[in-house]
């Protein structure tokens, strides 16, 4: 059944991105639609590499303000204080909640960075036309897709703190500009992962249908 590793595209068949059913591509005809569900047919996600790069580069750029600018400003009787993601983690660590500090550190700092680096690596490996370690690279891509939403964690934390800590003159918390930047990073890396087509990881460069 798996004798020669024939892919659908090698036989002129195209799997629908929506429902997965196979259609035969007619040479020279564009704008074909899936017979079963009517979705537009593409052999591979259109302009996958260029679009993934675009989202990824935008995410790298936004990552800087997300980490440098304050996530929130705390005002209390004892004065005002601004916290970045990192100083928030350090605060949690010193206040004895090292396990929570670890969760926030992983979700907000390790995951976005690892995600951007891994996507960069995958993109470069496709552009170099690698056909080895395809399985490992596919697994890496699956992990990326899975962890994507979890880096929204800190955005939700700040939102709850802002909503709850409005105790008149006693204490109040305002969101900082890094929240928006950070949310942007998460959305952009998710778009980047969605734009990437894992089937490219299995094909030599001359067979890329992009």
């Amino acid at each position: 059944m798996n004798d020669s590793n024939v892919t659908a595209s090698q036989l002129g068949l195209c799997a629908c991105h929506g429902c997965g059913s196979l259609s035969r591509l007619v040479a020279g005809s564009h704008d074909m639609c899936c017979r079963r569900c009517g979705a537009a047919l593409h052999l591979r996600k259109p302009d996958s590499i260029a679009r993934t790069w675009a989202f990824l580069i935008a995410a790298y750029i936004l990552y800087v303000p997300a980490n440098v600018l304050p996530m929130m400003r705390t005002g209390s009787l004892f004065g005002a204080q601004a916290d970045t993601i990192m100083s928030g983690v350090v605060y949690l660590w010193h206040s004895g909640s090292w396990h929570i500090a670890l969760v926030v550190f992983i979700a907000s700092i390790v995951v976005p960075l690892a995600k951007m680096f891994s996507l960069t690596y995958l993109l470069i490996s496709v552009q170099l036309g690698w056909t080895h370690r395809s399985l490992e690279r596919t697994k890496l891509y699956r992990i990326l897709e899975f962890v994507g939403p979890w880096s929204m964690l800190d955005v939700f934390v700040v939102m709850i703190l802002v909503a709850l800590v409005q105790l008149k003159s006693l204490a109040s918390i305002q969101p900082g500009p890094a929240v928006a930047a950070f949310g942007g990073v998460v959305v952009l890396t998710m778009f980047a992962a969605m734009a990437f087509d894992p089937r490219l990881l299995w094909e030599p460069k001359e067979r890329h249908h992009v």
Binding site: M1, N2, N5, V6, T7, A8, S9, Q10, L11, L13, A15, H17, G18, C19, G20, S21, L22, R36, C37, G38, L92, I100, V103, V104, A107, S134, L135, T138, R142, E145, G148, P149, M152, L153, V155, F156, V157, M159, I160, L161, V162, A163, L164, V165, Q166, L167, L170, A171, P175, V179, A180, G183, G184, V187, M190, M194, P198, R199, L201, W202
Partner: protein, 202 residues
């Protein structure tokens, strides 16, 4: 369904024949191990039960406060929508929209669309426009972030525990149950089986 249906792996494009599955079985791509489809016994009944439960908890989770806070005689509580509003009032329009979409709008749409598909099927009818709804559900899934939101609430509570007295609200417990039911509903909603119904319906 015959065993001679050809299919291509969605992750590596390997051409292969669809195997016939035992009840509860899983079909995986022999080259990249991607899960191609599953056999889920009584998937419509199960998915419908979980989705109804999840929809009920979703309403409770959105109506009641998630958590309250007391310090020096001043008390404050917030619901999910209240939190979105608070961040909107602080001028964070993008963040407010992002949170609204990922924790309220998308989960609500996801639950209603699943009910829209499952209820007619349970009554023996084909839902109208099944193909476009399945596509929509597929594209919405990554943006449904209820689980992440609840982890965020828990982290926020740990941060505040030193400073104030925390009062967990009804919605917090509802959200906990919602996560479990939503995960179960999504897992029993058998897209492969439903797509085959689209084919047969034509």
């Amino acid at each position: 369904m015959t065993s001679h249906n050809l299919t291509a792996c969605h992750e590596c494009d390997l051409l292969q024949r669809e195997p016939i599955l035992q009840p509860g079985g899983v079909a995986c791509c022999p080259r990249c191990n991607a899960v191609l489809f599953r056999h889920i016994p009584d998937s419509v009944d199960r998915a419908l039960a979980y989705t109804l439960g999840a929809a009920f908890l979703f309403i409770i989770a959105n109506v009641f406060p998630i958590v309250g806070l007391e310090a020096a005689g001043i008390a404050n509580a917030t619901s999910l929508y209240g939190a979105v509003e608070a961040i909107w009032k602080n001028g964070m329009v993008f963040v407010a929209a992002l949170v609204f979409v990922t924790t309220i709008l998308i989960p609500a749409l996801e639950l209603s669309l699943m009910l829209y598909v499952l209820v007619p099927l349970k009554l023996g009818q084909m839902p109208q426009g099944l193909a476009s709804i399945l596509r929509l559900l597929q594209s919405m899934r990554p943006w449904s972030m209820t689980q992440v939101f609840i982890l965020g609430v828990l982290v926020a509570l740990v941060k505040l525990a030193h400073l104030a007295h925390i009062v967990p609200g009804i919605a917090l417990w509802s959200f906990g149950g919602l996560i479990l039911l939503l995960t179960a509903a999504v897992a029993s909603f058998n897209r492969h089986e439903l797509w085959n119904m689209v084919r047969e319906g034509e």
